[in-house]
């Protein structure tokens, strides 16, 4: 059982939790993840560790409520408990002083890219952060990133805030400006990571992405998270989660991530249906 110390929404459906997990807090390094299970009937959900505090023995995770389980996670408040939190899992990010490094986060991927941006900065890189969101309301961690980045660019798809356009357009501008860029990290939705990979490939810029396949145990035991990298099968949980973006088969990743779409939709509909029913019952009882 892991106690939730604080919980707050950063944007609609995106919630930040600080959880008691002293062992994980002491050990974790940028790029690693935990698996969370909320109750006896719950799924095992992999979530990247966004931050940690060794002294207080806490870790931070940021969750976007999309399916039944992530929505249920986001119903938790400070003082509640998660039944199981295991980690730190996966290989830490490979960090060195590359020179100029760009960390790109899309949507909730911003949270996942954040610890690596911190680590890149600490390693002495000139660290540029591009933080993309669909609109102004979905921009997260702006303050935190300001404190880390040498240069911060916020992009919104609809132009409601910051740079009007996709993260890749901003990236292309930076490349076109003739600056020497030595390393790019991209974390976010698959289409965005693929687009970043396609943008940097012609220039031979070393680019790393963090993959987010379906997982069960997270320790290499089931092989459900397999992906193809450099034409070879890898287990993302133990061989990754970070890989050379120019070698990842994004097509396969996209398709495999759809394996349980139907079941997940059914579970969510069923869940929402029950919530409606509970609401109706509550209202009826009150009146």
């Amino acid at each position: 059982m892991n106690k939730i110390i604080s919980a707050e929404f950063l944007a609609a459906d995106i919630k930040r939790f600080v959880i008691e997990a002293p062992k994980i807090a002491a050990k974790r390094r940028a790029g690693q993840f935990v698996i969370v299970r909320i109750d006896e009937k719950g799924e095992r959900i992999p979530l990247t560790i966004a931050d940690s505090n060794k002294e207080q023995g806490t870790i931070t995770i940021i969750v976007q409520g999309i399916g039944k389980t992530t929505k249920e996670i986001n119903n938790h408040v400070a003082g509640d408990f998660f039944l199981d939190v295991v980690g730190p899992l996966g290989k830490p990010s490979h960090i060195e002083n590359f020179g100029t490094a760009i960390s790109i986060g899309g949507g909730v991927g911003t949270a996942i890219a954040f610890p690596t941006a911190v680590a890149l900065k600490e390693a002495g890189n000139h660290t540029i952060v591009i933080n993309g969101a669909r609109n102004k309301d979905l921009v997260i961690l702006e303050e935190e990133l300001k404190n880390v980045a040498d240069e911060l660019y916020i992009t919104t798809d609809d132009g409601s805030y910051g740079y009007h356009g996709f993260v890749t357009q901003k990236l292309q501008e930076l490349i076109d400006s003739g600056r020497k860029i030595d390393f790019v990290l991209a974390i976010g939705p698959i289409p965005m990571m693929r687009a970043v990979a396609n943008t940097t490939k012609p220039y031979g810029i070393k680019t790393v992405v963090s993959l987010n396949p379906v997982m069960v145990d997270g320790t290499g035991m089931c092989g459900g998270c397999r992906a193809t990298v450099d034409n070879k099968t890898v287990f993302v949980c133990v061989d990754g989660p970070e890989f050379d973006a120019h070698l990842v088969d994004f097509d396969l990743l996209t398709k495999r991530n759809r394996t349980y779409n139907q079941s997940e939709k059914a579970a969510l509909d069923n869940h929402l249906c029950k919530l409606d029913k509970a609401f109706v019952e509550a209202v009826t009882t009150e009146s």
């Binding site: 899992l89 290499g220 035991m221 089931c222 579970a267």
Partner: protein, 475 residues
């Protein structure tokens, strides 16, 4: 009544195991075998010749005093029999269900030379169930505390049997488990219909009552390294993390949706209870009215195919590249599978999985094989028959061809010796590794084997650890 003569004992035939009717059970997850009644148990126990030198014991990896417990069963002292078994076996209700007795104790049974051997496994199961159901599992005597602490890494059969012995010897024991439940393969791998999870839980609870501590969600290597376990005050470490890295076949199309490792398929269904989706949140491929093939011929393959059948598969195939004779699965499992309508396709090897443009499995290209000369395992090698390829429709495939060794301990504990396959190298007499204070056993040492062999290794290690703890200077 005077005791039965040897001749009279030999005239009793082996008592059959009552079981759920095949059609009914192929649609539910309840246990297939129902267990002996008291009458059946005493009748079966009377078949034992009470040999002066019981060779059956030699066939038992943990050395259960088989003759003595069977004598107690024949006298009707079932609780005495349960206690006798527990002197040597921490998980009797588990072993009575999943041990391959036909290759071990029962293979040595003298009665078996001319007749069917005494049903030792069924009797073991009966007495442990009897005790649990009638009076609850009683705890054996524990020696005074020694003040020494042992860390057991992994809560599968090897870890549990080692922990059970060490706690009785007076040591403090903590078992670390990576998953959220205790039991390892007994929980995630072996299905409910062969080994009900409440039975595993009861035997684990018995170990808790003896004082064994369990920590779930602890991935040794990541959460704590082996060295940190010593820093945290443990005097010895037993590594029993299992094999746990599924092999695939390296054929095209293996990453199509609908292709599973046996580990993933079984873990979703057993540990995560996907057969109760959506009551439980974890989904699994919907097998209803689908064509399912399981590739492999071991017990895990049988578990997977019978699980698929229970999930509603229209056709559930075992596809095995050798012939029936070479199949490593237990005879009982094969027999049960056949009764339940599993179709066996022998001498057939997959060449390629075929899928649609959305990435879903749609079929498999197969090749017929014939048996050639014996290979290193002594079994005749399967050889492809030219121009025998054919294609069948397939919606789900499970690859059940075994496991390699999980890399987490190796990557985080480089100062242990490993072989080429990543198995930890030990002295098999005492399970000592190349690193002082560290012992290892079970599948991480032997490669994929059986529950009882892992338990045997756990016992051997417990003895050696006890010995080591009396003088930690020597290694």
């Amino acid at each position: 009544m005077p005791p039965l003569t040897k001749k009279e004992r030999m005239q009793i035939s082996r008592q059959p195991m009552p079981e759920q009717e095949p059609l009914a059970r192929s649609r539910n997850f309840l246990e297939v075998n129902l267990g002996f009644t008291e009458e059946l148990a005493r009748m079966e126990a009377n078949r034992c010749l009470q040999c002066p030198k019981p060779v059956c014991v030699e066939g038992c990896p943990v050395g259960v005093k088989i003759r003595d417990f069977i004598q107690l069963v024949s006298e009707g002292d079932f609780l005495g029999a349960a206690a006798k078994i527990k002197e040597d076996n921490a998980l009797p209700a588990v072993c009575g269900r999943v041990c391959p007795q036909e290759e071990q104790c029962e293979a040595k049974c003298v009665v078996g030379v001319k007749h069917d051997p005494v049903a030792i496994g069924r009797l073991e199961r009966f007495v442990s169930d009897y005790e649990r159901e009638k009076v609850g599992i009683r705890t054996p005597h524990v020696k005074p505390k020694t003040g020494k602490k042992v860390a057991v890494v992994g809560s599968g059969p090897a870890g549990l049997s080692c922990a059970g012995d060490l706690i009785q010897l007076g040591h403090d024991v903590t078992v670390f488990e990576a998953l959220h439940e205790i039991g390892g393969v007994l929980i995630y791998g072996i299905p409910e219909f062969r080994l009900p999870k409440n039975i595993v839980k009861a035997e684990v609870d018995a170990l808790k009552n003896l004082g064994v501590e369990f920590q779930t969600n602890a991935v040794i290597g990541f959460t704590d390294t082996v060295d940190e376990l010593f820093e945290n005050g443990y005097h010895a470490v037993f590594i029993a993390v299992g094999a746990g890295l599924p092999y695939f076949m390296s054929i095209p199309g293996e990453n199509f949706n609908g292709v599973y490792s046996a580990n993933e398929f079984l873990t979703r269904v057993n540990l995560m209870k996907a057969y109760k989706f959506p009551e439980y949140d974890t989904p699994v491929f919907d097998c209803k009215n689908k064509n399912v093939a399981v590739f492999g011929g071991g017990n895990t393959a049988m578990d997977a195919v019978r699980t698929a059948k229970r999930l509603g598969a229209k056709n559930a195939y075992i596809m095995y590249r050798r012939s029936e004779k070479e199949m490593p699965a237990r005879l009982e499992e094969v027999h049960h599978a056949k009764q339940e309508g599993i179709e066996f396709v022998f001498l057939t090897n997959p060449l390629e999985f075929l899928g649609d443009e959305d990435g879903w499995l749609r079929g498999v290209k197969l090749q017929k094989m014939e048996l050639g000369e014996p290979d290193a395992s002594g079994r005749r090698r399967p050889v492809p028959i030219p121009n025998s390829e054919y294609i069948i429709d397939l919606d789900m495939a499970v690859v059940a061809i075994g496991n390699g060794s999980n890399p987490i301990i190796q990557k985080t504990t480089p100062d242990l010796s490993y072989n080429k396959r990543g198995n930890i190298i030990v002295n098999e007499e005492n399970m000592k590794t190349s690193k002082k204070g560290v012992f290892a056993g079970g599948d991480i040492v032997s490669g994929g084997a059986t529950v009882i062999l892992a338990m045997g290794a756990g016992r051997t290690a417990a003895k050696a650890i006890d010995n080591y703890l009396t003088n930690t200077e020597a290694w």
